[in-house]
Symmetry: D2
Subunit: 139 residues, 4 copies
């Protein structure tokens, strides 16, 4: 039952901007890549091709400590720090070697999505709860 | 019955790359923005919230003549140059003042999309054909 | 001396994801678009073609209340809520008509960027300070 | 001396759109990722942190045969099919298992970039020419 995942990644050119560094919006994409890899590690897909359950993002943040540049290799560590009946909260750490690049957070909620209806918050299905757990060192 | 559309746009920072210019992949997004504005001008949406008709892209290209930079204003002209029973072909011209920046093309096809089935090519519905036309100066 | 800016925008197709709504990372791009429009309103560019001053992002967040969908029109209000000698902090509100979609924050810092040197935090130049001000209703 | 590169990749959620498939603009990013990996394989960087040589894109195209969906694994094969004194042309093939997804092309040119000057076309430096070659089966 995984509670965290470390993704090794390299900066793509299209993720840089005219200041010569990774655009800040790309970090949220990196974080989500690591989240989805964590779910796959748990035998799950966060957006299966069938079914009407979804996990929209309800809150997210990043603090940026150092810039990343084209072709640098970096790690994205994604850790489950809290689970309620309807939500999951992650902490994210982006590092380049020993250098701390950025620290983030993400909270997602479980919803039912039906065509032409508003999304409704629901409890996370037990078969998903059974595959994920909060990291031992907590928050 | 519109056959072309001119979109006025400004370069966003996140569209630039570490070479200090607009990333080439962004031009395909600009072209699609102008295409969808042309459809709205015709009273249509290319992806309505209901219905199972879609218009996937089947071929596209761009030639790049001059770079675009952050905050420059530019125009994207999108023109219908051919329509068959199942496809629409556009020509695109991106200009910055009098300077020709890029020239593109895009061909889309009409399909039926049903959950868990492959897309099937179908004829463009008559109510859409009735709202669009090939530009008089053709290709 | 502007202290806030309201940007009217329409959802582009490439900003949506397979859940049928705007991808959460796009909101950070919307926020930045409104920030740069605020600077232009003040007669400034946040990334002029010459000079070695830059404004990297140091912290940012969003809370998401309702989804946005393809072709919906929405407003992005960006407001300066704090300025120190080296940083500027904004609050952001995204609305669709009367519906509150998302609320964000962004803190940027002034740096000197020189080729092959690390960025150095510096005081915001007086000619920039003179053109921006904290919104009257504060934080 | 590499002449081609095969990149194994998985579809990220932020690369999909509201039609439930990978947005067509993402294929140009996949192609560029494979190109830059080919250069690294040759011991080169297409955008080194120092120097004033660059390789802007001058022409590109894609034909799309089948859609890609979230979390599918696919391969991007990038092959050098022509080199002149100032340009390089690649052919690209995107496959999902045995299924041909898309076929693309990309032509880049060598330029000198100097601050506040227009880019100038120049010959590809010999130390780069020495590290790349046209694929044996040609175009």
């Amino acid at each position: 039952m995984p509670s965290e995942y470390r993704l090794r990644r390299r900066v793509n050119f299209y993720e840089t901007d005219a200041a010569g560094i990774v655009h800040f919006s790309a970090f949220f994409r990196y974080m989500e890549e690591a989240e989805h890899a964590l779910w796959r590690e748990a035998g799950l897909s966060i957006h299966p091709s069938e079914g009407d359950i979804g996990f929209p993002r309800v809150a997210t943040s990043f603090e940026f400590h150092r810039p990343l540049r084209f072709e640098q290799e970096f790690d994205v560590s994604m850790r489950i720090v809290a689970m309620t009946r309807k939500t999951i909260r992650y902490a994210c750490l982006v590092t380049h070697g020993e250098t701390k690049i950025a620290t983030g957070s993400l909270t997602i909620a479980c919803v039912r999505r039906r065509p032409n209806e508003p999304m409704t918050a629901i409890e996370i299905p037990p078969e998903i709860v059974a595959c994920l757990q909060v990291a031992p060192d907590g928050d």
